[in-house]
């Protein structure tokens, strides 16, 4: 694999894509939301057990590319046990990382999520990485309608032949 592809598909990402963690439904969790990426047809459902302000448990199910599956898997690990505000702040930091924005001082530690830094070189894949996070936000908000990755801004592609 060429070095820049290795930046995108890091071992940790490939591992989570092949063996996603927290990959199961939680119908009794109380909250769930569906995310859809019309570009690649990815669909994933995020399940959330919210205890007051704390994300007590998070899981997901669905079919997606390696980036969106790994992102969902690592997201569930990262936000479990965090408060709603902490999860929001983490997404903001994560979003800055993959869109190549400079680090803001005082943000939360990204930890393992830092392996997604290579996504910044692949702008069309940003939506893949953020889809589970947008879906989690929708679950937190209790949104009923599926979220689309198109909330990430102008569609890179949604038509054509």
């Amino acid at each position: 694999m060429s070095s820049d592809l290795r930046d995108l598909y890091q071992e940790v990402i490939l591992d989570h894509a092949k063996r996603p963690r927290n990959f199961h439904a939680m119908p009794a969790a109380g909250r769930q939301a569906e995310g859809y990426n019309p570009l690649c047809g990815d669909r994933e459902t995020v399940f959330l057990d919210l205890d007051g302000e704390v994300l007590k448990d998070v899981s997901f199910q669905g079919a997606g590319c390696a980036i969106s599956t790994a992102s969902a898997s690592m997201m569930t690990e990262s936000v479990k046990g965090k408060t709603r505000a902490e999860a929001d702040a983490l997404f903001e930091r994560f979003h800055d990382l993959i869109t190549g924005k400079p680090d803001a001082a005082g943000g939360p530690e990204l930890g393992k999520l830092a392996v997604f830094s290579g996504v910044r070189e692949y702008p069309v894949r940003v939506k893949c990485a953020t889809l589970p996070w947008h879906t989690l936000k929708a679950a937190l908000a209790g949104a009923a309608a599926p979220v689309s990755s198109e909330s990430e801004g102008p569609a890179a592609e949604s038509g054509g032949a």
Binding site: D4, L14, C40, A63, G160, A161
Partner: protein
């Protein structure tokens, strides 16, 4: 305005033809470009690029309006492109060639004119299960407006349309049949002539979406027996923003205009407007003049090579690619119809098409990944998406080898 006959047309010299396409010399991430996304849009030969520039540099003015030299010559050149189009599809009369923005606009035009005139509550529009969204949504919009129903002829597992089912779906309520000539997602060639016979036996007209077929096989609208045939310039090595609607003159004559405006009128008073003759009745406003003329150059270019020879060349590439990709363990070709052309869709076990696309891209190989604007096709085969390689007149067997090698690399990476 005549474009040079490509030298390579004498023998099918693909290396010489490639030199006509400046972009094919490009490098992507330091690798030679392997462009296998021709079903989305084809690249342009120098003859087309030169023709469009030539319009603006030497012979540009608005058409059908001026008495001055430039307008007269621009009009002549634009009309010449219409005549070239007539010859290209073997229409009886250039009045049957309506210039539009693309295939999508052609479908909308017919749905909003012929469709609104003839489709009423309880009526049916018949399509097939492999249609592109642009041959579904305009009819759905019409059906919704009229309280009509969209009927869909199903596909078998190979990707062929079930003709017996299609015949059963032709009911006394069917008002129009609209089918692709060649599926953009599966590569299936539809038996359009047979479908037209079945429909005509019941007095139902047939619209054919020829967006994928027109660049890949000779099209003769009279031999096909269709009533409407639409295709786009940009998939036919011409500029974007130009398309063709062929319609039988009797039908076009009886249809109301699509849009109102300049050029489509004969006379206007505040009380009454009389419409212009064919095809101008359907061409309101200033058209894509330079694009239309350059489209004529694209038709000259492919006609000089010969659509039958382009078809044979792409058939060879498709056969070669099918053989090479079939050897790859875990790869499954989606769409194995009896007759195919130009398009090869596939999935690889355990690897999402989007990841295939990204890895291939870094090898300089451009393919399409996703639902190909044919979500019902993806649903039919239970797939979220496929990867698709689609060929053009300039692709080579070496490029097929590069594709196969890159897919092996993808598998090594993700297994």
């Amino acid at each position: 305005m005549s474009s040079a006959v490509p030298e390579a047309a004498v023998a099918y010299d693909v290396a010489a033809l490639r030199r006509d396409f400046p972009i094919l010399a490009a490098k992507v991430y330091g690798k030679p470009l392997v462009y296998l996304d021709n079903a989305a849009s084809a690249q342009k030969p120098r003859q087309v690029i030169d023709a469009e520039r030539d319009v603006y540099e030497r012979c540009y003015a608005n058409i059908h309006r001026g008495v001055h030299w430039l307008s007269v010559h621009a009009t002549d050149n634009y009309d010449a492109a219409r005549e070239k189009t007539r010859r290209f599809v073997n229409a009886r009369d250039a009045r049957e060639i309506v210039f539009v923005r693309g295939t999508t606009e052609a479908v909308n035009l017919v749905a909003q004119t012929y469709g609104r005139q003839h489709v009423g509550p309880g009526d049916e529009v018949l399509v097939t299960g492999l249609e592109h969204h642009s041959n579904i949504v305009p009819w759905q919009m019409l059906c919704e407006e009229k309280g009509a129903r969209l009927a869909v002829a199903p596909l078998d597992d190979a990707g062929d349309v079930d003709l017996a089912a299609l015949e059963r779906l032709l009911t006394p309520r069917t008002r129009i049949v609209s089918v692709a000539h060649l599926s953009n997602a599966l590569g299936t060639v539809l038996p359009v002539r047979r479908i037209a016979e079945l429909a005509h036996a019941r007095g139902v007209p047939v619209f054919v979406d020829g967006a994928q077929a027109a660049p890949r096989m000779p099209v003769d609208v009279q031999a096909l027996g269709c009533d409407f045939y639409a295709f786009s310039s940009h998939k036919l090595y011409g500029p974007t923003g130009v398309g063709v609607l062929y319609g039988r003159a009797e039908l076009l004559e009886a249809m109301p205009p699509y849009q109102g405006g300049g050029d489509m009128i004969r006379s206007v008073t505040f009380e009454k407007t009389t419409y212009n003759a064919l095809p101008f009745k359907f061409e309101a406003g200033t058209p894509n003049i330079a694009g239309g003329i350059a489209f004529g150059a694209a038709l000259d270019y492919v006609s000089a090579i010969g659509l039958d020879r382009i078809a044979a060349h792409e058939h060879d590439l498709l056969a070669c690619a099918t053989a090479r990709l079939s050897e790859i363990e875990g790869l499954r070709i989606v769409g194995t119809a009896r007759e195919k052309a130009g398009v090869l869709s596939f999935v690889v076990e355990g690897v999402h098409p989007h990841d295939i696309g990204t890895v291939l891209d870094r090898e300089g190989i451009a393919i399409r990944t996703g639902h190909h604007c044919a979500q019902p096709v993806m649903d039919r085969y239970g797939l979220p998406a496929t990867a698709r390689a689609s060929f053009g007149l300039y692709n080579t067997r070496d490029e097929v080898d590069a594709l196969a090698a890159a897919i092996h690399k993808v598998i090594r990476m993700f297994r």
